[in-house]
């Protein structure tokens, strides 16, 4: 188990990581999801021992590892740029971490390796291990090539192989797929997922692509501006976002947000009239995902379509409600084919409405029920 306790990293008086708390269970697949520049790589580098936190503690299985160098932590890392050694063959690239760990300084000297029986034995064992990993990743044919002679996906695989070969405590991935084309990305995603199942190791995966995070992870930590906003399994992240920022960041299309003021338990909104499970005093932000709004023949809401984006599987519509308020709607290809200017009817499932406190943006743990018809 890896624990981060109020971990802080300050660059030039600016906190890039601000009191991060996070627990990463042994063997889990944890994603760090966040927009560019939010400090994901910084966090990963601190985990790997390449950077030191300015404050806070970092525990591996309860042991404080802040004093341990990258070498001693036995953590493997796959870099966004792959970071393969350009002057070495694939075989040497994969084999290097193994040689550095299993052989002494003396045994690594070129001539000694040939002479010393123990060094020879270790080298042979290392060689077999490299070949086993290469076979596992489908790299056997490429072992004698240099990185410059590989495609992006192959490089990626070599980088993974280099991480895999030395049986590390945990794998860190820093946006490993962002340099690949869409198709390859899907394929590599599956391979990484499979790898996680095969090895059973802790995987920590940094990405700004929520599809990757959602599809791969046991838990996702959403990061923004140096803070962790929510740590949760993908489903919870989507169905119960902890605040408006997470709600806005997670989901294929931007969520509709609207501030309203309840009166007791009664909630009058342009989306309809609802009842809260408990009375709430103060402004509330209603969050409604575009995919939770349905186009229907006969619905409680009505509006004029102002924009239509056909996206293949579904259509994204901007619907202007009578009050001049716009609602984003993701419509599954249905019997109705709306066009700009059409007047359409909408229906909303009240249990899919998210409630947030207006002043803090945090989730409001209340239920919503329908009351009567639209205003």
């Amino acid at each position: 188990m890896i624990q981060l306790k109020s971990l802080t990293r300050i660059f030039d008086d600016k906190p890039v990581l601000d009191a991060i708390n996070l627990e990463i269970p042994e063997g889990s697949f944890t994603s760090l999801l966040g927009p560019s520049g939010c400090g994901k790589s910084t966090l990963l580098r601190i985990l790997a021992g390449l950077d030191q936190p300015s404050a806070g503690t970092l525990l591996f299985d309860g042991e404080d590892v802040r004093e341990k160098s990258a070498t001693l932590r036995n953590i493997a890392m796959v870099f966004q740029s792959y970071a393969l050694y350009p002057h070495m063959t694939v075989r040497a690239n994969i084999g290097l971490p193994l040689a550095m760990r299993s052989m002494s300084r003396l045994e690594r000297l070129p001539l000694v390796t040939a002479l010393l029986p123990s060094a020879r034995r270790k080298r042979a064992a290392n060689g077999r291990e490299v070949e086993r990993i290469a076979a596992m990743l489908g790299l056997t044919e490429l072992l004698e090539r240099k990185p410059s002679e590989l495609s992006g996906g192959q490089k990626q695989r070599v980088a993974v192989g280099r991480a895999l070969v030395r049986d590390p405590k945990a794998f860190l991935f820093d946006e490993p797929l962002s340099n690949l084309d869409t198709k390859l990305r899907g394929q590599m995603r599956e391979e990484i997922s499979l790898l996680h199942k095969q090895t059973g190791k802790t995987f920590i995966y940094v990405t700004h692509d929520q599809t990757e995070a959602m599809s791969l992870s046991d838990q996702v930590a959403v990061m923004m501006e140096g803070h962790i906003l929510q740590v949760a399994p993908p489903r919870i992240l989507y169905s119960r976002p902890a605040n408006t920022k997470v709600a806005a960041f997670v989901g294929e299309h931007p969520i509709n947000l609207l501030t309203v003021k309840p009166v007791g338990t009664a909630l009058q909104s342009p989306f309809g009239a609802f009842v809260l499970s408990e009375a709430w005093d103060g402004d509330i932000i209603l969050g409604l995902r575009p995919e939770n709004i349905a186009l229907v023949e006969n619905g409680p809401l009505q509006g004029r379509v102002t924009r239509v984006d056909y996206l293949g599987g579904h259509t994204l519509l901007d619907v202007e409600l009578s009050e001049g308020i716009c609602l984003r709607v993701a419509d599954e290809e249905g019997p109705l084919v709306p066009a700009v200017g059409n007047v359409v009817q909408l229906s909303i499932a009240p249990q899919k409405i998210h409630l947030f406190k207006a002043e803090s943006g945090e989730r409001l743990p209340l239920e919503v029920r329908q009351r009567g018809e639209a205003v």
């Binding site: 030191q52 802040r66 004093e67 341990k68 160098s69």
Partner: protein
């Protein structure tokens, strides 16, 4: 700067030790082999220290006064300046002409251009002392090839290396021979960097012969390279030593004495370390001024691009 407890913690000490093992040897070597000796030379230059002597006296600026007033000292200074004044412009002009020629040949025969470049660069790769002994043969007053060749066109043979009025120019000619190739390569690099659209533009603007195009495009665009070449050549010429030591040893009658050779002779033949140090300091200051100019030019050149 006070060390915080964090900076004294084990990993920080280890980091510091690693840095020390990486940068320490070089830093130490630079101090011991470059900076401390440079300071010492300046200190020696104010003494009458002689190699092997047990003591020395402070003599203030005497060594410098001697260098600039004594006939032989002044000879070394003026000879060096004259040598630079001859080699610098001539080497530059010749190498620019050659570079332009090679560049134009390369437009219709790249192979030939490469061969020419090779030929002109040969002296840069050659061992100067060895070539100087060859020059000694070539310049032999009675039986050398040079005098025989000019004899063919009716010019009387010269004592190239023992005529007081001629010897410095002979050495300068060898200096030019030695530096043309190097400068040509620098100019060629400068020429290749000129975008060809500029020539098209100049032609449209009415610069339709080679001469006009040279003055409107080539020369201004080569400006930074030219300055660079000038200073590099000057710095190198200032250090002239090998040919003097091999061919004339400063003679006849100090007619070809130069700063570095005088430094060598006074210090390591006559063991006058103090006086030699003063010569060194003067030489150093001159080279320093040139090199700093060069650094400024290099910076400008970067901005220019």
């Amino acid at each position: 700067m006070a060390l915080s407890p964090r900076q004294l913690s084990a990993p920080h000490l280890k980091e510091a030790a690693t840095t020390l093992s990486l940068a320490g040897p070089a830093t130490l070597a630079m101090l011991v082999l470059i900076f401390i000796p440079s300071l010492l030379v300046a200190v020696f230059s104010f003494t009458d220290y002689q190699f092997g002597a047990r003591s020395f006296h402070w003599v203030g600026l005497d060594n410098y006064v001697t260098l600039f007033t004594d006939r032989t000292g002044r000879r070394a200074v003026t000879n060096t300046l004259l040598y630079v004044a001859v080699v610098m412009p001539l080497s530059m002009i010749f190498s620019l002409v050659v570079a332009l020629g090679v560049q134009s040949v390369s437009t219709w025969s790249p192979r030939l251009a490469t061969m020419l470049r090779t030929a002109y660069f040969m002296p840069v790769a050659a061992t100067l002392v060895a070539m100087a002994t060859v020059f000694q043969m070539l310049l032999h007053p009675s039986l050398g090839l040079i005098n025989q060749l000019i004899g063919l066109v009716g010019i009387p043979g010269q004592s190239w290396l023992s005529d007081r009025g001629l010897v410095l120019y002979t050495l300068a000619a060898i200096g030019i021979w030695e530096t043309i190739g190097y400068n040509m390569v620098l100019f060629l690099a400068g020429l290749t960097a000129i975008p060809s659209q500029l020539y098209d533009a100049a032609e449209i603007d009415g610069a339709n012969n080679w001469w006009d195009r040279f003055w409107t495009v080539t020369w201004p665009m080569l400006g930074p390279t030219t300055l660079f070449v000038l200073v590099v050549t000057a710095t190198r010429s200032f250090r002239v030593f090998e040919t003097v030591a091999t061919l004339t040893q400063g003679g006849p009658a100090y007619a070809s004495d130069t700063l570095v050779y005088a430094m060598y002779r006074e210090g390591f033949v006559y063991f006058k370390a103090g006086y030699s140090s003063a010569i060194t300091v003067v030489f150093f200051v001159a080279v320093l001024i040139l090199t700093l100019t060069q650094v400024r030019i290099v910076e400008k050149k970067v901005h220019y691009r």
